[in-house]
Symmetry: D3
Subunit: 157 residues, 6 copies
Amino acid sequence: MLAVYPGSYDPITNGHVDIIERGRKIFDRLIIAVLMNPAKQPLFTLEERIDVLRELYPPDTGIVVEAFDGLLIDFAATRKADVIVRGIRYVSDFEYEFQMALMNRRLDERIETVFMLPSESYSYVSSRLVKEIFQFGGSVSGLVPDCVERRLKSRVT
Amino acid sequence: MLAVYPGSYDPITNGHVDIIERGRKIFDRLIIAVLMNPAKQPLFTLEERIDVLRELYPPDTGIVVEAFDGLLIDFAATRKADVIVRGIRYVSDFEYEFQMALMNRRLDERIETVFMLPSESYSYVSSRLVKEIFQFGGSVSGLVPDCVERRLKSRVT
Amino acid sequence: MLAVYPGSYDPITNGHVDIIERGRKIFDRLIIAVLMNPAKQPLFTLEERIDVLRELYPPDTGIVVEAFDGLLIDFAATRKADVIVRGIRYVSDFEYEFQMALMNRRLDERIETVFMLPSESYSYVSSRLVKEIFQFGGSVSGLVPDCVERRLKSRVT
Amino acid sequence: MLAVYPGSYDPITNGHVDIIERGRKIFDRLIIAVLMNPAKQPLFTLEERIDVLRELYPPDTGIVVEAFDGLLIDFAATRKADVIVRGIRYVSDFEYEFQMALMNRRLDERIETVFMLPSESYSYVSSRLVKEIFQFGGSVSGLVPDCVERRLKSRVT
Amino acid sequence: MLAVYPGSYDPITNGHVDIIERGRKIFDRLIIAVLMNPAKQPLFTLEERIDVLRELYPPDTGIVVEAFDGLLIDFAATRKADVIVRGIRYVSDFEYEFQMALMNRRLDERIETVFMLPSESYSYVSSRLVKEIFQFGGSVSGLVPDCVERRLKSRVT
Amino acid sequence: MLAVYPGSYDPITNGHVDIIERGRKIFDRLIIAVLMNPAKQPLFTLEERIDVLRELYPPDTGIVVEAFDGLLIDFAATRKADVIVRGIRYVSDFEYEFQMALMNRRLDERIETVFMLPSESYSYVSSRLVKEIFQFGGSVSGLVPDCVERRLKSRVT
């Protein structure tokens, strides 16, 4: 089974890491699909986001990191993925994800969306909040992988 | 990967059938785990519920039907399952399922819960509603598999 | 247009009264359909509940009070109703009502369900809470019509 | 009864069409009220959106298409509407709509908001998603009326 | 400020303990108000529940443990409480609590309800789940205080 | 106990006033913390927003009005606040607030977030809606304090 786990990863948080580890145990192969152009101005460039992910998931982890643009379902179909993995934590997440999953199923019924829960320790961690805390000078330690924390810190100096 | 799909199946609806078919494509093996004693007085006995399921999923489908009692997570562990599959349709489903999944993870962290969406055609179908409609003389055609409809009808005569 | 407004009315609250008045302005004719046997042991008998409603809505109001049993959609079809009216206040109301409305549409596609909002003043008033408050000796003044309050008080003595 | 069904209709989807048909059966007259200046940059100009709607609902359908600007409740009052119709599919829809309906009631208590459910087949269809799919080259067939699909396609060439 | 923290405490969980500790820091005095007769058959008698709470919160903690029957708001008024404290974790909690708080405000406007969040570590812990796990032979270690765990275990033998 | 009640107050609504009055009865001292730079272009400048608040809450009310920038939790810590007060009305409010409160607790565990409910009369009032109504020429009377209404009107002339 090949699963795609899509996102902006701007930056990857420990909540993402948690879902990746859980997904890895269920699906033989996992593609982390990095959205090239998120709606909002990203903090990290696509290259930086991919660099971080490849540092965290080198080739021998069986996890592949790839950028994508356009419709997620088209990218997943090109890669012959069986499954799209999404983490959900909140009711509002859930409703948006529900709508996207039904639409993606309509666009390509061969690919199924499955939802997973991150650890409750990360229930309140999102890329948006991490960026906000960082930009206002707060500590993001424990919210993101160490290599992300280092990159964030190196920006300030 | 071995997945457990638990429920009371009193009776199995086309919403359950939809999730079973979707789950079957993702996981090599699937156990339909029938809760022996649901909280409320069941319409069908455990034997009847198991009969129906085995009629629908004969051995050559790679789907196993088993009864269980006690904690679902203990049953899943005994069977060496990797995954518990749950269908979600509503926000209220989601919150209850969220709570159960986190508790089950605490009780046995080796087994992951994944959530799947039934087709929107079955979003409003539940065993409880099917029973209510049947008991008030309404038609459940298209809401449950044919063999369930036949059994329901044979009850009235 | 003929609308049916169903409920247990055990007892009718000022929230129900609010919806009835709003519905009456939109639909020519309104049937208040009183569920004969609610799931739980009712506080008022069917006769008492119908008496109260007929006292509140005498024939010249253009509102008809009737008891029903079985499936609501069958009752509505027998009366040649065009519309089922439901009040919603909460997300949890909404999800249950959504499911019922889709099921009723499937059972008889000629009858549409429309949802209305009670005044925010009654957003927290329900028959269940009114009964609880009354049974523990609290005042239900302003939560139910005067004639209901009188009947409740006469019970105690 | 005169009902107003407001929206941006950028573009009209089959979910809108579904609500319009259901509303048309309940209310004698229906005005489709097209918001002149949606918050975001529209895909279709006001003229194009009105053209499409008038093509779909020519005068003999008893449905009137009009543009409006400013407060919806003021537009509805000018037209002497009795009712505002809104479709709801999700909890998040519901909460926003609830807030707007109570505010509109405060601004003009003569006009009531009623909520209707689109068919579950359209539960995941929104103008926003349709635009996204179209812009990324996906097929919107079955999600929008044919004349909208044609207009979208003619844009690309 | 005197706060009342009501519940069935059948049994007290670590989620309750968490809220009590947080409430204790904000309010000078805290009454843990134990509902005498919960709707369902309790696992522990009122005496046992009170014993456990007094063992956990001896007089020198400034926390008082009391049983109550009837309306919570009447009990709170008798004790001249300023505040009712409630923990919320889920949307469904929130809606029910919202309704109760508005009703209690109507019954006695001098007493305010404030809501607090337990640690995310206890977001999935409830008395009902603890009882279920215990009754099916699962471990409740870490979900309830040690003295509750001991009492549960002594029941089995 | 010192409580901080943060917001953009662009403009303050009667919903805010309601929470401030309720909060004032529970906490000895209250700081109204005005976010300097809200995400969107404010209608009132920071100076105007502070002026309005100081007119409404002169020093002898025991309420302090202060501007803040950066992380709320840092501001609260600098002021040695014990509590952050937030009003919640909707499920969507609740989920966002839940996430922020858990994050703030992580950033500084000494400061607790408590949630309060405004009167149901203000359940649908928000700064955003007030601005929208004002900008389209509707009346905001009863939605905001008189001094805000006067300032809004003086803008038009």
